[in-house]
Symmetry: C2
Subunit: 112 residues, 2 copies
DNA sequence: ACTTCATTTCACATATTTGTTAAATAACCA
DNA sequence: TGGTTATTTAACAAATATGTGAAATGAAGT
């Protein structure tokens, strides 16, 4: 039930409704009805969004009587942050080295 | 040409081919043919992937004769990292506070 | 001008996503 | 048992995404 592949996580987070749900869950657990309340969509739609988030490993769900409270998981968010930051800084360092090299001997720029 | 909305950026990064292209571009500029080489898809497919990345603000493209070298942009990656890390740490702090509260007076757990 | 190389656009097929309404579960309450 | 509340599943429609092969564009080389 926790695939946790970056593909699936990023796809899950690319939907604004789901990202808002994740934002809401960062403030604490919530039930399906509570999560659905701010959005102009029907409950089945929310239910499917939650299933997508669960499949991505971004949430877990408990059962507490009729309620099924959702809880955020940290790991996939950490992986997203790590991947983006790693890629970003790799390129940043490349740019720094390039700049240093250009400073050493003069060149013309190609990207305006 | 640079929408830079988190939606669009995350959707762009959710495709494994595109994420691999971004990874490749973190090592330096490359042309369309160079980017296409590792993948078992046709050039039109790569061309469309690049258009998606450009539309997300993740790359820029120069024209250098027949070549159209692609270059990575830092900003959207930084935004992704910042959003994920912000959300993650918000929930982490919530959990810490909850734990502290539970340590203060005893309770039973609800999530196994 | 003709050819070649790099890249894009077109037209199309298929698969996936997102939403809807109506019906089905599941647990609680009277 | 029957009724209400919370949530999910089923069946379907519309929009979007991804890939292909064939043709078009654009710049360079001869």
């Amino acid at each position: 039930m926790k695939s946790d592949q970056l593909d699936v996580v990023l796809a899950a987070l690319s939907d604004p409704t789901r990202r808002a749900i994740v934002g809401r869950l960062a403030e604490g657990e919530a039930t399906v009805l509570e999560l659905a309340e701010p959005f102009p969509v029907t409950l089945p739609a929310i239910s499917r969004h939650l299933k997508v988030l669960e499949h991505a490993g971004l949430i877990t769900r408990a059962r507490n009587g009729k309620h099924r409270p959702c809880r955020l998981r940290l790991e996939p968010l950490a992986e997203v942050a790590a991947w983006a930051e790693h890629t970003r800084s790799a390129w940043e360092h490349r740019l720094d080295r390039l700049e240093a090299h250009l400073a050493a001997d003069q060149h013309e720029t190609e990207h305006p």
